[in-house]
């Protein structure tokens, strides 16, 4: 197997970061707020126990990180902001306001100007919702996950279905643009239970829905249960049935599926997430955040202490830098882009690499077309209905 040429940051210390990395056009800004009251049973994102003192410490470091990048990068424009975590809704509205102010002191905002805040129904009080709006947030992403009490407990969520319903009713009053996350294919979940949760979610008429099948990641509570034999992974046939049911229900309600797991009313697609799928640059700040300037990937230390210490010495908290070969860039552009229902435009591919998609991947495309997994014409390469269910079989074909 090829190993990516990940450069460890200490070796690059002598090198100026701007020799390796540069953003030359507007990019998406991601901020990782690594605090949670309680870690969910399925979650493998980096997070620390919530504590006001630590949040202050973190925000100071974050400010430093923003300032360092503002000096370093040639592009000073951002098009989206996404505050994720962790549980960023644990931040006080005043802290959030301060954070956005810092961002706008360093960068100017152009384009869609979408500012998303990830919220956990359990930490979202009525007053907070209004205050977030006032602070400048214009999109919320709500980790509802399920409307079934037993399922929420199984996932280790702290909220109840009733709490989620109340929060949603409040959110609707202040936000026209918000997303609702749901998880399906839980061990023991029936098709009917999934349908119930989904229909409940749709009854609020959210402009955007993200649906994920449960992925049991290494090192999580669920992973331990799986290894102990206490839970069983869901059969992929049931998983597919649930997924297809959701697509049908949402289509009937006027949602358009624009990505493998994402559905929106026209105009409400997540602009920030589109940046990832359209292979555009983004800068990630905060511990464990990942960045991509179009040619190079780099990521921060997944440790709050190291992150803060480095910044207190005016050093970037970058743990590693991975420059991508052209071939790797091509493959990533395809496997990220194919996640979109509209797929990848052959013109964009040519504009970026100066080569015809059909020439670079002739054999792969023939094979995949033959299997009925992709549809390919002069303008577009995209997954077929069958291909959407078997996306990995397609994506891996393009790996170098």
């Amino acid at each position: 197997m090829r190993s990516p040429r990940r450069l460890l940051w200490p070796f690059c210390r002598g090198m100026k970061m701007n020799k390796l990395v540069d953003f030359t056009r507007p990019f998406g800004l991601y901020i990782h707020v690594p605090f949670c009251v309680h870690k969910c049973n399925y979650c493998d994102f980096y997070s620390e126990a919530f504590n006001q003192g630590r949040i202050k410490y973190f925000l100071q470091a974050l400010q430093r990180e923003l300032e360092l990048y503002a000096e370093l990068l040639s592009a000073k424009e951002i098009s989206t902001i996404y505050i994720g975590g962790g549980t960023p809704s644990l931040l006080k509205p005043s802290q959030l306001e301060g954070l956005l102010e810092l961002i706008f002191n360093s960068f100017s905002f152009t384009g869609s100007r979408e500012i998303t805040l990830e919220c956990n129904p359990s930490s979202l009080k009525k007053e907070k919702i209004a205050a977030f709006k006032k602070a400048g947030i214009n999109r919320l992403s709500l980790g509802v996950q399920s409307f079934n009490e037993r399922e929420l407990k199984f996932l280790g969520r702290l909220h109840t279905p009733t709490q989620a319903i109340k929060v949603l009713e409040e959110v609707k009053k202040y936000f026209t643009n918000y997303n609702l996350d749901l998880i399906f294919a839980l061990p023991g979940q029936s098709l009917e239970e999934w349908e119930e949760s989904l229909k409940k979610a749709v009854s609020f008429k959210p402009p955007h829905l993200s649906l994920y099948n449960l992925q049991i990641e290494e090192g999580t509570v669920l992973d331990a249960l799986l290894k102990e034999g206490k839970i069983k992974e869901v059969d992929d046939r049931l998983d597919a049935e649930m997924y297809l049911l959701a697509r049908k229900v949402l289509q009937e309600k006027g949602y358009r599926q624009y990505e493998i797991s994402n559905f929106a009313r026209p105009g409400y697609e997540s602009k920030h997430n589109l940046i990832y799928w359209q292979y555009q640059p983004y800068l990630g700040l905060g511990p464990a955040a990942h960045s991509f300037d179009g040619k190079v990937r780099f990521s921060n230390y997944s440790d709050l202490e190291i992150y803060c210490q480095r910044l207190s010495r005016n050093q970037l908290p970058v743990a590693g830098v991975t420059p991508l070969s052209r071939r790797e860039q091509m493959s990533e552009m395809l496997f990220m882009g194919l996640r979109l229902i509209d797929g990848v435009s052959t013109g964009d591919f040519k504009a970026r690499f100066g080569l015809e998609l059909k020439e670079v991947y002739q054999d792969e495309l023939n094979r995949l077309t033959g299997l009925g997994l992709v549809q390919f014409d002069e303008e577009q390469l995209k997954l077929t209905q069958k291909g959407i269910l078997l996306g990995n079989e397609v994506f891996m074909e393009f790996l170098p």
Binding site: R237, A240, S261, L389, L390, G391, N392, L399
Partner: protein, 596 residues
């Protein structure tokens, strides 16, 4: 060196009786290597040998002791490699017979003693591992007397602790005869081993029987009739060391820019082009392989690489044969013949490790004799895929072996059952000592080469040892069991089974394949058939959904790794028709079926 002061010897022993450790001590004592330089078991050069704790290839080394030149030629101990042993023996005048003081004489010890006696070697018995609490040297001496060896001078050693090493060295000088002084005769050098070096070409390990040889001379391979100019001659200490010349009685190597491995066969005789010997040395008896299987590159593009690797391996392992074959399912590959299952595994591992090849190996088969109905024509077939239709066959005969199984008597019941299940015919049972038993069975070789040996080991907690010899062919009611995947016969999966077991084996094989073949994007039926009659069927359900659903957050590297892992798994599979079949599936017949 005056041949009076040369001694050529080898060490013969049953596997695990301490041969390699004793060799190490001899090297250490004579200062070939300081203790610090000693890596354990220096003579086992291959990684594979060290890992498995067995010697596969013969190796040579020169020791200097009391003004004598002692050449040690190491030999493999396993039953599959007796051919190698006989090669090494032909280069020696004497042998150390190492017997474990706690285990006593074993099947392989006997086999080796007879080989040594056939070559007129002086045998020095060495009773090793006397440091073990369970050591019983007197009992072992008794066993050796029974065999007919003189044991007054048997030496007691503990190679592990280094006791008795000096006595062994002295005995080599005193008892093993010096080689004959024939330095004035025309050169005759016996090639007893060789390997291929990418810079120097073939390095031939030789024992000079007559005459002498030095760099610059023109030599001739007596079998191949090809001539070469000698670049270098040298000795092993244990690394290669160039010397002026090699003469009668000595052991060393010759490098002569031989690039084509076919022209330097082990067993051939080297002579001088100018003054050739009248006749070559007696070559080795060509041993016929007993077990055959197909070797195919996973990636068809590697065919030439595989061919090249096989040629190089065969250079120093003439007991293994190969010829090109084609399989409908697997494409172009080679039908390879091996001395036994271990031999097959070793070759396979060496190909994968040393030549970095990804291989598909088909289940091993024996050589069947078939008489056809119409014209009475007799065929010898080593590949089930090549069998004629059942209605064309008058008679099938299969090879039988006589097995000697040594085991503690408490396991006798279970082992007899195992033999019976594998169509074994009971011949004899003897107590070799108070609680060790020798069981003799005649068993079809085809049964022995599936997982008989593993089952034997597991049923006796590893205590049983097995030796076997070919005794001849017997007719049996055999049928070809075909496997159909997705409706098509996969020729590489066909096996020959006994009629009575056919259904059971068919069911078991389809079940095992269902476990081994990953789900495809469509439903795949797996069927077992005899002729046109389907006798078992299972379905591998279609893969419905395989898509990384949660893919946001900027960590693309991790997603890529996940895809890379899935892709890597596929690379090791062979595309047969529309179905991707993993390498293990072709050996499914050898795997234990838990439901059985």
């Amino acid at each position: 060196m005056n041949s009076e002061r040369i001694r050529n010897f080898c060490i013969i022993a049953h596997i695990d009786h301490g041969k390699s450790t004793l060799a190490d001590r001899l090297l250490e004592y004579t200062g070939v290597l300081s203790e610090r330089e000693m890596q354990e078991q220096v003579l086992d050069k291959m990684d594979l040998e060290r890992e498995r704790g067995i010697t596969i290839k013969a190796q040579a080394v020169r020791l200097d002791y009391k003004g004598y030149e002692l050449n040690l030629i190491d030999t493999p101990g396993h039953v599959d490699f007796s051919y190698e042993v006989s090669r090494s023996l032909a280069a020696c005048e004497g042998a150390l017979l190492v017997v474990d003081a706690s285990q006593g004489v074993e099947a392989q010890t006997l086999a080796n003693i007879y080989l040594a006696l056939e070559h007129d070697l002086e045998i020095i018995p060495v009773i090793n591992k006397i440091d073990l609490p369970s050591a019983d040297p007197d009992l072992v001496k008794g066993q050796l007397i029974d065999i007919g060896l003189e044991i007054e001078d048997a030496i007691l050693t503990s190679a592990k602790e280094g006791t008795g090493i000096k006595e062994v060295l002295d005995a080599i000088i005193e008892k093993i005869p010096a080689p004959k002084d024939t330095v004035d005769k025309p050169l005759r050098a016996l090639i007893f081993d060789s390997y291929y070096d990418s810079y120097q070409g073939v390095v031939a390990y030789v024992r000079i029987m007559d005459g002498s040889v030095k760099a610059g001379q023109r030599i001739k391979m007596m079998a191949g009739q090809k001539e070469y100019e000698v670049d270098e001659v040298g000795i092993f200490k244990p690394d290669m060391q160039r010397v002026e010349s090699l003469s009668a009685g000595e052991v060393g190597y010759i490098i002569a820019g031989i690039k084509d491995v076919k022209n330097c066969r082990v067993g051939d005789t080297i002579t001088l082009a100018e003054n050739p010997a009248a006749s070559p040395l007696p070559g080795y008896k060509k041993i016929k392989p007993m077990v055959y299987s197909g070797l195919y590159p996973t990636d068809n593009a590697d065919y030439e690489l595989l061919k090249d690797a096989l040629e190089k391996l065969q250079l120093n392992d003439a007991s293994f044969t190969f010829e090109p074959e084609t399989s409908e399912a697997l494409g172009f590959g080679f039908r390879c013949g091996f001395l036994g299952l271990l031999h097959m595994e070793i070759i396979q591992e060496r190909l994968e490790r040393e030549y970095n090849l990804d291989l598909v190996i088909t289940a091993p088969s024996v050589v069947y004799r078939i008489t056809k109905k119409d014209d009475g024509e007799e065929l010898e077939l080593d590949n089930p895929a090549k069998f004629p239709e059942p209605n064309e066959i008058e008679k099938i005969e299969e090879p039988f072996v006589r097995t000697e199984i040594y085991l503690p008597d408490e396991f006798v019941g279970q082992v007899m059952e195992l033999c019976q299940e594998n169509r074994g015919e009971f011949k004899d049972m003897q107590y070799v000592d108070e609680n060790r038993v020798k069981l003799i069975y005649e068993i079809p070789l085809s049964e022995l080469i599936t997982d008989f040996f593993n089952l034997l080991k597991s049923k006796t907690r590893g205590y049983a040892t097995l030796d076997y010899e070919f005794i001849g062919y017997k007719a049996a009611k055999l049928v070809k069991l075909d496997i159909l995947i997705n409706g098509e016969v996969v020729d590489a999966l066909s096996t020959i089974v006994h009629q009575e077991n056919a259904e059971r084996k068919g069911r078991s094989l389809t079940r095992k394949l269902k476990k081994l073949i990953p789900r495809q994007m469509f439903e795949v039926p797996v069927q077992a058939a005899i002729g046109n009659k389907i006798i078992a069927r299972v379905n591998i359900k279609a893969l419905r959904k395989n898509v990384l659903q949660k893919c946001y957050g900027g960590d693309v590297t991790r997603k890529r790794k996940l895809l890379e892992k899935q892709k890597e798994g596929k690379k090791r599979m062979k595309q047969v028709g529309k179905v991707e079949i993993p390498q293990e599936a072709f050996m499914a017949v050898l795997q234990r079926d838990e439901d059985e």
